[in-house]
Symmetry: C2
C-alpha cells in the first residue's frame, strides 16, 4: 500500500528525521551528510547566488516534472550569469496526504539532474501543511555558482550593433503544461523543453568570453525577456518574426488557444546578446550542443527607441512587442 | 481601498515587474539593483549556506510575523555554524487575493531585521497561486555567511565533559503561535522569542573560539535538538529539569494544553556545547547580550549512553528524554 505524507513528517521529530535520512541517502555527498544547520564549504572568487520557488500545476507534465524543473531552473539562473553551478539547496512544502510514491518519483528525477550536471544538493528543508493549505507540492531551490575571471555577463551590457541569438524554438514548456492541466489533446504531443543549460553556456564561453547578456525566457516568454534587456541596457531591440523558431505543434496550439508564442514560457532556452564579430562562432558552438541545435540569430540591438522591442512581421510590417501585461498562464513554473 | 495580489503579479509581466521594483526599493543595495538572474559578489573563505521555508499559521502572532521569522531563522541557521550572515534570498509564494497591505507589513518587518542585522537581501522570487492553492503566504529564505578561520562548530563535535548552555527560557514561540491560532487567552500574553542570534554568537566567539556545537531548538524543541546532538556526536547528554528555564506563563499554558515545554518550538534561543574550562566565561558573555540574559548551564555531555538524553527531574528521579515522535504543533514555523 502506498503510504502518505503526514503532518508529523514536517514536525522536526522522528518521522522528519527518517524522511531527511532518505534524502541524504539519495543525494549523498560529504557536505550534506554532516547534517548541521548550514552546509559548509570553501569558496573563492566571484560568486553567483539565486533562488526560485516552483508551484507548477500539474506537478507532472510531458517532458518533465516539478523536481526536474526546480533544479534545472536554478542551474539555468546561475548559468545566465556565466557561473558554473556548484551547490543547491532544496526546500519542499508538501501538502499532507501526498502519496510517498509521488514524492519519491520527484526526488528521483531531481537526483537524475543532479547526477547529470554534477551540482550537489548540500542543504534542505521539509515543511508539511494541512490538506487544502497547499496544492500537492511546492519546491524552492537556491543555488551557488562560481564565475571565472574575465567573464562579465549582465542584462545591463547590451550594446548597439550586438546580435541576438536564440537557442531554439519557443513556447514548448508553456503549451506542454497548459495542455496537461486542461486535458487538451493536440495532434502532436508537445513536450516541455525543460533542460539544464550549463553545458550550453560552457560551450559558448569556450569559443568566446565576450558574451554581453544571457537570459532564459521563462515566465512572460521571449517578449518579456527582450523587453527587460532593453530596459536594463537602455537600448532598443529589433527582431524578425520569421527568424524566431516555433515548432509546428506549438504554433497550432497557440492559434487554437489564442496565445502568442512570444509570451509563452520556456524552460530550456536562452537568449544571448553578443558582439557582432563573435556572433557566428558562438552560434556554431551552440548548434553543436544538444540543447542548442536549433540556435539562430533573431535580430540585433539598436541605439534607437531605448526600452522598446520591435519586430518585423512575416507580412513585412514592423510592430512593437510589448511586455506581457496581464496574466497568460498561471502556475507555469 | 486596499488592493489585492492578483495572479498576474506572479506572471513575469508588467505587474510582476512593478512588485519587484517595490521590493528593490525596500531592500536597496547594489547587488540587488542589478536585477540579473543571479546576485553576483566576491567571497573568499569558508562559506555557510542554508535554506528554510516558512509556513507558520497565523502569519502574524504576538512577538512577530512570518517575515521576521523567515529572516531570523536563516540568520540563526548561519550563526549556528559560527558564520557571519551576509546575504539572503527571499522567495515568496503568495495566495491570490492577499491584501497588498498585508504583504507590505510583512516585507517592512523583513526590512527592519535586515537593517538591524546588516544582512543584505540580494536575490528573490515571487510566485502567486490561485485562491485555495496556498494559505495566504509562504516564505523561503536561503542564506550565505562566512566562517572565520579557527572556528569549527558542528553537531558532531560534542565531547564527554562538555557543558551545555541554554540561552534562555523555552517554549515561548510555540505557545505564542498556538494561542494566536486557536484564539486562546492566558492571564499573561505569551510572546514569541523570535530574534536574530548573530550578535549573541559573535559575543560568545569573542571570549572563546572553542565552541563545539551550537544549535537553535526550533521545531521539535529542546528535547529534539539535544537528541540530534547525541546522535551526531555519538555521546550521551544529562540535563537537570530545574535548571531549564520556562516562563511561568508558558508553563501554565503547557499544563493547560497537555504539552511538555521541552518539545515546544523556540525561535530566539540557542544551545551551546562548550569545553568545561571555557563554560563560565562564555556564559557570562551570553548573559550580557540582549538575547542571552537568561542563559544558564543546564547539563553536561557524558560518554555513557550514547544517543540518549536523560533528565534529572525536580522529584530527583532520572528519565529518558526522547525525540519528538508524533506531531505536536503543525505549521509552527
Amino acid at each position: 500500500m502506498d503510504s502518505k505524507i503526514l503532518l508529523a513528517h514536517g514536525s522536526g521529530g522522528r518521522l522528519s528525521h527518517n524522511l531527511i535520512k532518505d534524502f541524504i541517502q539519495l543525494f549523498r555527498n560529504q557536505i550534506l551528510e554532516k547534517m548541521d544547520d548550514s552546509a559548509v564549504f570553501d569558496l573563492n572568487g566571484r560568486v553567483a547566488f539565486t533562488t526560485d520557488s516552483y508551484v507548477v500545476n500539474p506537478i507532472f507534465f510531458p517532458g518533465g516534472d516539478i523536481g526536474q524543473l526546480a533544479v534545472c531552473g536554478t542551474i539555468n539562473d546561475l548559468s545566465m550569469c556565466g557561473a558554473t553551478p556548484l551547490y543547491i539547496s532544496l526546500a519542499l512544502i508538501i501538502e499532507e496526504g501526498l502519496p510517498m510514491s509521488v514524492l519519491k518519483q520527484i526526488t528521483s528525477s531531481i537526483q537524475t539532474v543532479v547526477k547529470d550536471t554534477g551540482v550537489k544538493v548540500v542543504t534542505g528543508d521539509t515543511k508539511v501543511v494541512n490538506q487544502g493549505s497547499a496544492d500537492k507540492l511546492f519546491i524552492n531551490t537556491a543555488g551557488i555558482g562560481l564565475i571565472s575571471e574575465g567573464i562579465d555577463i549582465s542584462g545591463t551590457n547590451a550594446k548597439p550593433g550586438d546580435k541576438i541569438i536564440l537557442s531554439g524554438a519557443i513556447g514548448d514548456h508553456g503549451i506542454a503544461v497548459m495542455a496537461q492541466r486542461e486535458g487538451l489533446r493536440f495532434k502532436i504531443l508537445v513536450k516541455s523543453d525543460c533542460a539544464p543549460l550549463n553545458t550550453l553556456v560552457a560551450d559558448m564561453l569556450k569559443v568566446s568570453e565576450k558574451i554581453h547578456c544571457l537570459r532564459d525566457p521563462t515566465r512572460g516568454g521571449l517578449a518579456t525577456t527582450l523587453n527587460e534587456l532593453t530596459m536594463q541596457s537602455k537600448v532598443g531591440i529589433n527582431i524578425e518574426e520569421e527568424k524566431v523558431p516555433v515548432h509546428e505543434s506549438v504554433r497550432a496550439a497557440c492559434e487554437f488557444l489564442g496565445f502568442d508564442p512570444l509570451y509563452v514560457a520556456n524552460e530550456g532556452k536562452l537568449v544571448a546578446i553578443v558582439p557582432a564579430r563573435n556572433a557566428e562562432k558562438i552560434l556554431k558552438a551552440m548548434q553543436q550542443n544538444l540543447y542548442g541545435k536549433e540556435s539562430t540569430i533573431i535580430g540585433e540591438v539598436v541605439a534607437e527607441h531605448p526600452g522598446i522591442v520591435t519586430m518585423k512581421t512575416i507580412l513585412g510590417t514592423s510592430r512593437i512587442v510589448d511586455m506581457l501585461s496581464g496574466e497568460l498562464l498561471p502556475r507555469i513554473c
